[in-house]
């Protein structure tokens, strides 16, 4: 309260016209509140829909939805790095692969429960991402993209190396046993994994949302917008950038582990550069710097290649390309910009 009184005193010192203007502008606040409520309503509605959906859909669709959420988690991770911190990565397939293999090896060779493989995969990827982020500090823009490209290019070959074959299964990969629903829940395996992924994804999403609206998240965005000014405001840019790489890898690693569990299989050639580019495409069509867009991006990543395949088997790549161009044409800043446009048009009328 005392701070408020102080400011009132300052107003009397300063020019009154501007102060008066500001007072008139105050009633704008309720509108902002209404916007917040609408967003909450949409969030809760989607959540309810997500919870009842498996009861009305076939197992294969449930599996596809689970895979969509897994991709979405990886895209949220990439968004934290690229959208919020301004660092590019073509290497996220590597972190996804490390997460997937961590889960597979821990489950099949160490007999660890699938639940515990997620934090382990996340922590291993955080460390790898942080360590990779340190030398990457010296690189910007396209150069960073090239360095991360190298990471993606090397990963499948490293996974095939014969000294590691005992652990990785070499070219054959590793087959994973699908977990059953716990506590005697009346769910089949696909349905259980759907709910499991939904809960993990929800926790990770909320954590990411908390982060980007906090002091740490603002420091990341400050680095993205103006690194020199960020440093002058006291942001240890090196530490934050390397940590952002680590955190991003954490998300992608957890997604990789979940992906391995639901697909029941890991093999080196599932984790090529194509997957990295897929994450980037998913990020862009969902909206760079907008977290919920990841779900749309994940769906795009999973379904659009299938749609393209259905249109023309021989020219599926070309059809995919055309669909991508069409989407970018209609929504140049992804789903995020598209929705923003619609909301502002509705409000305008």
């Amino acid at each position: 309260m005392s701070a408020h009184e102080e400011t009132v005193v300052h107003h009397d010192i300063g020019e009154s016209p501007e102060g008066a203007e500001r007072l008139i502008a105050k009633p704008a606040a309720p509108e902002a509140k209404a916007g917040l409520q609408l967003r909450h309503f949409v969030f809760v509605a989607l959540l309810v829909l997500a919870f009842v959906l498996p009861a009305f859909t076939k197992n294969f669709v449930v599996f596809q939805l689970t895979q969509t959420m897994v991709y979405a988690i990886a895209i949220v991770g990439l968004n934290l790095l690229t959208g919020f911190n301004g660092q590019f990565s073509l290497g996220h397939s590597a972190f996804y692969a490390v997460g997937a293999y961590t889960a597979a090896i821990l489950m099949e060779q160490a007999g660890l429960s699938y639940v515990w493989t997620l934090p382990v995969a996340g922590i291993i990827c955080f460390i790898l991402g942080f360590l990779f982020g340190l030398p990457a500090l010296r690189l910007e823009g396209v150069y960073l993209a090239l360095a991360t490209f190298a990471l993606a290019a090397a990963t499948p070959q490293i996974l095939k190396l014969s000294p590691l074959e005992h652990w990785t299964g070499g070219v054959q990969g590793i087959v994973i046993t699908k977990p059953d629903a716990p506590f005697g829940l009346p769910l089949n395996q696909d349905q259980w994994l759907y709910y499991f992924t939904l809960i993990v994804g929800l926790i990770l999403y909320l954590a990411a949302r908390n982060l980007v609206t906090s002091r740490t998240g603002r420091a990341l965005m400050a680095i993205r917008d103006n690194p020199i000014a960020a440093r002058s405001m006291g942001v240890n840019t090196s530490l934050y950038k390397a940590s952002a790489f680590g955190l991003s890898a954490f998300y992608t690693g957890v997604a990789g582990a979940l992906g391995a569990i639901i697909v029941q299989f890991v093999a080196p050639d599932s984790f090529t550069l194509t997957l990295s580019i897929g994450f980037l495409v998913g990020l862009v069509v969902g909206g760079v710097g907008w977290l919920p867009g990841a779900l749309f991006g994940g769906a795009f990543l999973l379904f659009v290649p299938n749609i393209a395949e259905n249109v023309s088997k021989g020219l599926s790549g070309a059809v995919y390309g055309l669909l991508l161009i069409a989407i970018i044409y209609v929504m140049p800043s992804g789903l995020a910009g598209f929705l923003q446009l619609i909301v502002s048009k509705v409000r305008g009328k």
Binding site: T7, H10, R22, D225, M233, N236
Partner: protein, 263 residues
């Protein structure tokens, strides 16, 4: 809370600072002192070394030789990101805001150095993170009121008029409660009335907030009207120092500005 210039140690002391880039001498043995509570104007024509000096003070450059002391201690061993925490705040020549963020977010980031939090606590909104956030909000609200930014608080800074952006930058710098505020050509791009208003504001900030100000400025009118002392640079060397009225009449300064035989 020692205020005024009573105690012996100046807030800022620049000792014989020289900066060379690949044979070019940007600064050549410049020294001056800035007592607490003063407004010091650093002037000089283009290329005189003003901005280089500025970047040395905010640790973006390291001088080739010489020393910079803040509250009696050298800052040259510290990284740039620690400057805000020890009490040196700054603004930038052509405004360097976080363009995609709102006014409020910009000012909140200004308080970064005076608060702590980490990835873990912020992701989970732990009680400590909430306290930090509340503290930052309080400072930001107070400063946005102080600088009349309340009605644009939630607008992205990119679309705001230049003069408003400059006030956002001031608010952002003040959010760290600096002891020394470095202003890099704040009058650039402002019209006559705005420059006058800015001068009044800088003085008011100094008086209200116990801030010492180093003003690097092209605009002679502004410097001469609000500074207690002026240091003039030309070609990297100090050519004059003293009260505005004295420096204004300095023949070497007049020659530097009007060209004289050099032009």
């Amino acid at each position: 809370m020692s205020s005024g210039s009573g105690d012996g140690v100046p807030l800022l002391e620049v000792r014989d600072v020289a900066v060379r880039f690949d044979g070019i001498v940007a600064l050549d043995g410049v020294s001056f002192k800035l007592p607490k509570g003063q407004i010091l104007g650093l002037i000089g024509p283009n290329g005189a070394g003003k901005t280089t000096m500025f970047n040395c003070l905010s640790r973006l450059y390291t001088p080739t030789s010489g020393d910079v002391l803040f509250e009696g201690k050298s800052i040259l061993g510290r990284p740039a990101y620690e400057m805000a925490a020890i009490g040196i705040g700054r603004t930038f020549q052509n405004v360097a805001l976080f363009s995609r963020l709102t006014v409020r977010e910009n000012v909140l980031i200004g308080g970064h150095s005076h608060t702590t939090s980490n990835f873990f606590g912020d992701s989970l909104r732990l009680p400590s993170a909430r306290r930090t956030e509340a503290q930052l909000e309080k400072t930001a609200n107070e400063l946005m009121d102080y600088l009349h930014l309340g009605d644009v608080a939630d607008r992205p800074v990119a679309g705001l008029p230049f003069g408003t952006q400059k006030r956002v930058e001031l608010a952002r710098a003040l959010a760290a409660s600096p002891k020394l505020l470095l202003l890099d050509e704040p009058a650039g791009g402002l019209n006559h009335d705005e420059v006058h208003e800015l001068g009044r504001l800088v003085k008011q900030i100094r008086d209200d907030r116990d801030v010492t100000v180093l003003l690097v400025e092209h605009h002679m009118g502004l410097v001469m009207s609000i500074s207690e002392n002026v240091v003039a640079l030309n070609f990297g060397k100090k050519i004059a120092e003293g009260a505005p009225d004295v420096v204004r009449k300095d023949p070497e300064l007049i020659r530097a500005y009007l060209g004289g035989e050099a032009a």
